[in-house]
Amino acid sequence: MTIPTLAEAAALIAAKKISPVELTQACLERMAAMNGALNAFILPTEERALADAKAAEAAIMKDGPIGPLHGIPMGLKDIVDTAGIRTTCQSKLLADNIPDTDATCAAKLAAAGTVLMGKLTTHEFADGGPSFDVVAPPARNPWNTDHFTAGSSSGTGAAVAAGMILCGIGTDTGGSIRGPAALCGIAGIKPTYGLVSRAGVAPAAFSLDTIGPMAWTAEDCALMLQVLAGHDPKDPASADRPVPDYTALLGKGLKGVRIGVIRHFHEEDSPVSQPVLGGIADAVSVFREMGAAISDVTLSPLQDWHAAGSLISMTERAAAYEEWARTRLDAFGERVQRRLMLGALVSGVDYVQAVRRRRELRDELRNAMRNLDVVLTAAAPGEAPKIDAIARWDVFAAPSFTIPFNVSGYPAMSVCSGFGPSGLPLSLQIVGKPFQEATVFQVADAFEKGTAFRGKRPAMIAA
């Protein structure tokens, strides 16, 4: 069976041309064949998957699908609580943790009739990987297993790219959805802060954390976000506003859409590789040919955004995990130990200055986008690096292209923009205004359908 997108699978299920059980079995076969090499799942749940698939199949045969996610195989990052199913956060500290209740996002996906294939590998507490000294090994990139997936939604990125699942949950504090989406060649969106409930998901940094979809295409992410979005009183940051139709603008074309390019981020502040640069230039040409109006945007240097986001992140993380840092620091992997140590060096005044800078930067982006619909920049500096070549103190190695939009809270998406000289995916980041995810999907979907990059899967799937 070729690997359908979520949208294609939903149509086939609705037309009764494929059953959820057949679809799930095909995903289970790919999981059995590749998870040993990829470590994408820290805990496969085959029995649960088949039970979910059979239940979905019976319900669909009786009454038809309740929505496009009914019978769709998916996975949950292992910082998402699952009732009765081990949730380790990839940490020895929670190696035997079995939650009593589902996180809100897990419950919503279950209610939508999805098939839970298992818990997906992450970085320890969604931070600091790749780590080889935590409860399980890191995920590997299906395009080349010597290479990194990025993180921390590393297993989700690998599993979607390898066709083990059609969609999965990622979380994003500084780029943990968009990084793995970029390096694994899939689509992933960090929604507007507050759009998707964080209840039942382990925190990384409270004021930056977001939960979001990862899938093969932007359209698939839109279908998934439709289920995930909405107010939840259990999350104090949850936005109480109506949920729009995230597919409403798909296929509408880009005529008149106003696109800004934050060129200095990826050309001057932190120059990306030539292939990434070429991919962005090609994308801009595609958008222009589709009728979009293109202009340049100038913001504060990328390093300012990175500094504000990083100081906020390291402080909030140190606060969240302070008790364990004080009493069981050695139980964390070395990379997270180092991150938690940083909390000792950031004062309360440093943190407040970072939060004041955050307001200035957010206002700057709001003003810059006043006459724009989306802005573009890189999602990653190049192809995936080797998994053993990640800097020891990576937060200081180079500024992140993704963290500016955690700092601002704006929705941001990574899509595949081609392939580099090593055959690994390249990427592009599309950023919208708050709660305007439908416009982000419109642009991303038009790009995917106007290019041929969605037609290529990792070679290891066929091997």
Binding site: S310, L311, L329, R338, L340, A344, V346, R359
Partner: protein, 64 residues
């Protein structure tokens, strides 16, 4: 030139945070002091004392 992080100052900060670090960890953390100081400088702007935090919020109907 960032201020020097002396061993005594580092010990004080670590103790204040309630952490227990060995000599190798202390040496490791000292290697990034300059980079961290540069980050802290970037979030300090000429903004005056009236500049608000991003976290400022308004009350909603649920608060009433």
């Amino acid at each position: 030139m960032p201020p020097t992080l002396t061993d005594e100052a580092l010990d004080y900060l670590i103790a204040s945070a309630g952490l227990t670090l060995d000599a190798a960890q202390k040496a490791d953390i000292k290697t990034i002091h300059e980079s961290l100081t540069a980050m802290k400088a970037r979030v300090r702007q000429k903004r005056g004392h009236m500049a608000e935090l991003a976290h400022s919020f308004g009350f909603t109907a649920e608060d009433l």
